[in-house]
Amino acid sequence: MKLSILLILFGILQARADVRAQGSITLNMQQAEIAKVLNRIEKKGEFRFLYNYDLVSLRKKVSVNFLNSDLPTALRHLFDGTDLTYKVLNNNLIVVMSSGPEKQAIRITGIVTGAANELLAGVSVRVKGTSIGTSTGNKGEYTVTADENATLVFSYIGYSDKEVAVSGQNVVNVQLAPSNTKLDEVVVIGYGSQRRKDLTGAVSTVTAADIANRPIVDAGEALQGKAAGVQVMSNSGKPGAGLTIRVRGSSSISAGNDPLYVVDGIPMTDISSFSPGDIETISILKDAASASIYGTRAANGVVVITTKKGVAGKSKINLSVYGGISSSTKMLSVLNGKQYQDYANELNAPVVAVTDSMVNANNVDWPKEVFQKGNQQNYQLSIAGGSEKTQHYISINYLNQKGIVKPASFDRLTGRVNLTTKANDWLTFITSTVLSRSRTNGAKDNLSVAKGGVVLTALETPFTVPKFEPDGRLGYNALKGWSNPLGSILGYYSKSLNDRLLSNVGADVKLFKGLVFQSRFGIDYQNVEATSFTDPFLTSNVSSGNPSDHSQTKTTVLTWLSEQTLAYTATFGRSHLSALAGWTAQDGRTNSATIGGSHLANEYRLLPWDASFARDSIHRPGTTAIDEWALISYLGRISYDFDGKYLFQANLRSDNSSKFAPGNRTAAFPSFSAGWRISGEDFMKSQHIVSELKLRAGWGQNGNQEGIGSYAYLPLSDVTVSNDSSTNGAINPSTTAPASLTWETSTQTNIGVDASFLGGRISFSGDFYIKKTKDILYDVPLPAQSGYKSAPVNGASMRNIGEEFLVSTRNIVKGDFRWSTDLTISFNQNKVTGLLYGITNSPSYGDVSLNGAGTPQHAISLAKGYGLGEFYGYVAKGVNPENGHEMYQTNGDTLSDNPSPTSRRFIGNAQPKFVYGVTNNVSYKNFDLTVFIQGSQGNKIYNVGRMEAESMLNSANQSAAVLRRWRKKGDITDIPSVGLPNNSLISTRFLENGSYLRFKTITLSYRFSPKWIDKLGLAAASIYISANNLITITHYKGFDPEVNSTGNPIVVNPNGTASSDNDARNISLGMDSGAYPQSKIFLAGLNISLK
């Protein structure tokens, strides 16, 4: 609909004689815009109008009452008191135009600066009341064409909007003030966005600024210590290792506890493929009121991620590079060769197991050999820009991490294209596409020495063990036989290649004023190839079953999403209403195929994987698995506020899930919330202390179905695929069916307050919540005679109560020196309030396989009245000086070195009482210093590594602590004698305080002045140095208190048997089974923007 063409046409037609319009008009409208009246006349079918939508007079509200009026009469009446006039063309086509003096369109340029006169790039500049606009370039400059009487609106994230009347000037320079309060910011919520001011739910946000200049690999890391109510725990320091993220505690036992991620509108469970540098904002929807729009998947909170978009104007090209080195945050000391000899011979007395010649022959400092320096580098290039019609954001990112223990490494290449294009004034197309390839080279961690765990093997391989035997095989401990750590480094690899394509395409259709239809289609396609190999020659002294092993699993996951929503906004006087209704469908299908082989002849071991696999003398039968789930949902939301002071919101989502039995598939989740912006009341206007004050309250329900197997409502049997005819096709029962399997339902009540004081110098946000979850999927362990290990039922209930606070202060705001502080602190109390069938104490979690024992012992119990991660064991009471036996408290008040299992008790919990983060930003002229401290308080860690390294049961090397061991009658010490299994029972002896305070990030950056870099063709440039995990204050004796051995997300077994793994993830918290340690990282980085 090119108006200009029509106007030219009109110009030609004007030369002809006037044509009279035929027909009459009957119409009655009150307080309607003139455009709307014309529209209504048009609808009656006799007349058609042509006009420029931008004519201001068309917005004038009039009241008309025509009864069989002819056109000239009606229009004269309608246009009365305006500058509008009209011409009638052929076929009752009428052109409406302005008769007033032709307004002068002028070219306006200017520069936009911030409070410190710094040039602001990317500031949105719009002509008020029109769709005309641009954004500032790298030097804060802009050019826009507008009416000489127009008003320009400048807006920029973090700054208050500013309106400036042009008043005929050609140059309009503007200085923006930082926004008074966080309440002005726009917050992305589920299916939309809201000003923080208007929020009635509990939403935390993290922005690109929190991610910048930090070596963040997975966007989830950015939430640690920055978002109140969110606990982020690195499972280990291994490159590419996952995170455990809990929003307001845990609420499930056997299903998932991880939040749902929504990236540019697509719900997903894994965000590790994305470049954090592409992220614009992250919103964490914490309470039921804000999350319930995601219904059955929202009980664990929702993390909504929005990626960067282009802005019309000159293209901005940014390059960010950083590189750094990493090393272990701590080293543990072990026995040297001589000390080991002393120990081993004491253990094996009267036999002399380790001779002097063995000690002299080799002296390999294994921890030093294994723990090396790692490195990390990251490159991100982005181009953002576009025209009024089409905006683009294109980026490419490469990240490479080499771990401190070989061969662990991770690298990722990501490309992204985000595009928005306006097809016309009512139709906008939006698309974003990410392609990513990541490669992970694993390291065997969280495993005992017997299973080849490289971390524990590094600590437990005696210095007397050679690197290689004379024939070239790996050296092994003659007394024990496990390979030295090189077995896991040289003799074995486990690689995975993960390709991912995530793409969505959508359209926004403006149907009528205030009514927008949004349509989105997305696909998420992943192809994962996991390959492992054990070298037959190098490892041939190692007993790891077969002399060699090949294994490969290829998995493809295709998830598609269709999402159709209608959004309506309207204003009636001082009332604002917005409503949303939608329908979505999502389907995920996983296909996997596994092959494997063994018994490779040595001569083929150096061939590429596929070539050597082909030469295996034994091939295992290939297996495949398919898994598919679907979810169809209806959703709705109504938000209403009166005068911005009284705010209400209601959400409803109804879900239909394929994971449940027919007839049991539908559930609805409502929520309601309200807010009162007290600071908007007249009685608050007279004071200047409180700038903003809002009370919020909300109630709602969410569901959880993540982690529930796709076919978990059916009793399943496996079919054996085998090369031998005697068992091929054999049927083996595998799972039982909960007849009434259903969603877990969380009901949450939230009360919050948002406030800012002294013109925004201090802002505060606090929330209190009670979250009760019922129908929790609980994989009830069964007595063995049932034939099943466990049966899943919706049989438990849990409660989380918590408080979370965010305080931001701008301590010094004037002059060259500026200082601001952000503090978040989150308290959560988690408690299992009910377990079905009278189960009160189920100590079958927290597996400990001391010295590789085939059947694990258990350090954690699931118990009514206690939180998840409740440690259960004996209470150790020190070493008996008489005989060197560790003594334990029995049921009575007596001590025993052979306590009955019934004297075990609850000895502590893995969940912290609170977690916190403090960020201080200090800037002086062009220097910026950020110090980010983060910590956890009140949590316990069960140190399995220490238990093994102090057990003194076999010929493994031991921790240096055993130098204090009991040796003779009368010795008073905390380390018992050698060789007694009962000395290392699961007890308080190995349970440690896991609290820590960590200087997570210290970054010093310098911004170059424009005058320096101008000649280089740069618009902006900064350099920085950064230290991560530099100082950690803790009593924890292991490598690092930030550890969670069982936290790694286990790929859900396509046959739906992941529930027991979920149990481990959810219940077995705080276990350190030889996890790959965290590293200290020193970085240097550079950010530049091209002109």
Binding site: V509, S658, S722, N732, A739
Partner: protein, 490 residues
């Protein structure tokens, strides 16, 4: 402009059509690579499914598809029968094994817990198959075949209960499948009181009698893993010999049902190489086809071959017993002296360390294990003769076994000596076949024999108490099933 509205509506309509079509079936997802287990009483399975179910029981029993059978029926058979007795030290460095060797185990012992679970898992698996096969009305499954399948599964169930009752005494007896279609009911009903020992034996015998009539004759199937009448009769003989008051007439009767169908292999060592599977001496044998099959026998690698300090190392006492007897054939087929370099207080010379080498294939997983073989039954028959004071016939049986390994006839001349001669013969013949502890236990000799054991330095090794003749009920099971009670003494 009117066009615009039309366009908008048309656009919307097209989208709506696109998105709403093809979504109706979306929620009906069904498992593809797994099958839905029917409730046994409602099932109507095909003949093929019945065959697949029995394959499942056989496979599970021996550990196919990560089934638990191999740990309980192979690895721990030797731990419970030989390590717990005077045949083996625990070896290796596994604290749970060591506790069993040293009689320091309690209710948290990992092996004991694993054995209880594994044993019941095999039983439950058999229960499930028995119930489903029983409902099969497919004419393609003949009545005889159906009966045989049921008999085979019931035999395997009886075999496991026989192990369990010998390990723990009173135990819950479950003979019907649990219903996997309702977890809630399952959880409420999966507990259960333990049955007295006599009732457990009654159930075992019941299964055996059914199986005896139903399964195929000896040789009907070339694989000795497929349960035959010979296997059932042999198990019956062992059961009657084990009950607290042995019924020697029944032992004699069932031994006599077995003996004519089998013959001893000429060369003792042939029994344990991998080229004489399903031989004439084998009565019931778990067949392992190696790592390319659904399960390879990985157990021998725990006893011998390159690698770490081995599990289940032979005792000084056993090595002496072979030496004293001059039994080179069986010694050489059972034990290898190696130089590994890890001396301990039992074997102090690193250059002369004995390892268990009866199962010869530690590389390819093809070693079979005999559950019952003829020599066992011949010696049991000897016991039955001896119990009736028929020393001559007892000697005849013993000497058959001795002659094969070039040993002179036994010199035992009275009932007491003969009992000890048979005990020793069983020890040497059946070493590392999981028999020794049960022999000592059923003859009441366990405590006396064990408490006389000494280490290399001449120190008494064990102080076995009466209550330790039974294992403790695993603490986890006590926690899960409040109806269970702990065995006395623990």
């Amino acid at each position: 402009m009117k066009n615009t509205t039309l366009h908008r509506i048309a656009f919307l309509g097209a989208l709506a059509t696109l998105i709403l079509s093809g979504c109706t079936k979306l929620l009906d997802q069904k498992p593809v690579t797994q099958i839905v287990t029917p409730k046994a009483s409602d099932s109507s399975i095909s003949a093929n499914t019945a065959e697949s179910l029995i394959q499942g029981v056989y496979g599970y029993f021996k550990g196919a598809g990560y089934g638990p059978g191999i740990e309980f029926n192979v690895l721990d058979r030797i731990t419970n029968g030989d390590v717990r007795s005077d045949n083996c030290y625990a070896g290796g460095d596994n604290s749970d094994n060591a506790a069993i060797d040293l009689f320091t185990y309690n209710a948290l012992n990992g092996n004991v817990a694993r054995d209880w679970s594994d044993c019941y898992f095999v039983i439950a698996h058999a229960n499930s198959a028995i119930a489903q096969i029983a409902t099969c009305t497919d004419p393609a499954l003949s009545a005889a075949r159906k009966n045989s399948l049921l008999g085979e599964a019931r035999f395997m169930r009886a075999f496991e209960y026989f192990d369990a009752v010998r390990l723990w005494g009173k135990i819950p007896v479950v003979l019907v499948p649990i219903d996997p279609t309702n977890s809630e009911t399952l959880i409420k009903t999966s507990g259960g009181l333990p049955s007295p020992v006599d009732s457990v034996y009654a159930a075992i015998l019941n299964d055996c009698w059914f199986a005896k009539a139903a399964v195929g004759d000896v040789g009907a199937d070339p694989s000795k893993y497929i349960v035959s009448k010979g296997a059932v009769n042999a198990l019956l003989a062992k059961i009657y010999a084990t009950q607290s008051t042995p019924n020697w007439d029944s032992v004699a009767y069932y031994c006599d049902q077995v003996i004519p169908h089998y013959s001893l292999l000429a060369n003792f060592a042939d029994l344990f190489d991998i080229n004489h599977k399903n031989n004439s001496e084998s009565i019931w044998e778990i067949e392992y086809d190696g790592y390319s099959s659904s399960v390879g026998n990985w157990v021998p690698g725990n006893f011998m071959g390159a690698g770490w300090k081995k599990f289940s190392t032979p005792t000084n006492d056993l090595v002496n017993a072979f030496t004293t007897e001059g039994d080179n054939v069986r010694f050489n087929a059972s034990i290898t002296i190696v130089t590994y370099g890890w001396p301990d207080k039992y074997w102090t010379n690193p250059a002369s360390y004995p390892v268990l080498s009866k199962y010869t294939d530690d590389q390819n997983g093809k070693s079979d294990i005999y559950m019952i073989r003829l020599a066992d039954i011949l010696l049991l028959r000897a016991e039955a003769y001896n119990a009736k004071s028929d020393i001559a016939n007892a000697a005849l049986m013993v000497n058959k076994v001795r002659a094969r390994v070039s040993l002179a006839p036994t010199t035992a001349a009275n009932q007491g000596d003969m009992a000890l001669a048979i005990e020793k013969e069983r020890r040497l013949e059946l070493a590392f076949e999981g028999q020794r502890w049960y022999d000592l236990a059923r003859t009441g000799r366990a405590k006396a024999v064990m408490n006389a054991q000494k280490d290399a330095g001449g120190n008494i090794l064990y102080n076995v108490q009466d209550y330790q003749l039974l294992y403790p009920v695993p603490q986890t099971q006590l926690d899960l099933n409040p109806l269970l009670t702990q065995n006395e003494g623990y």
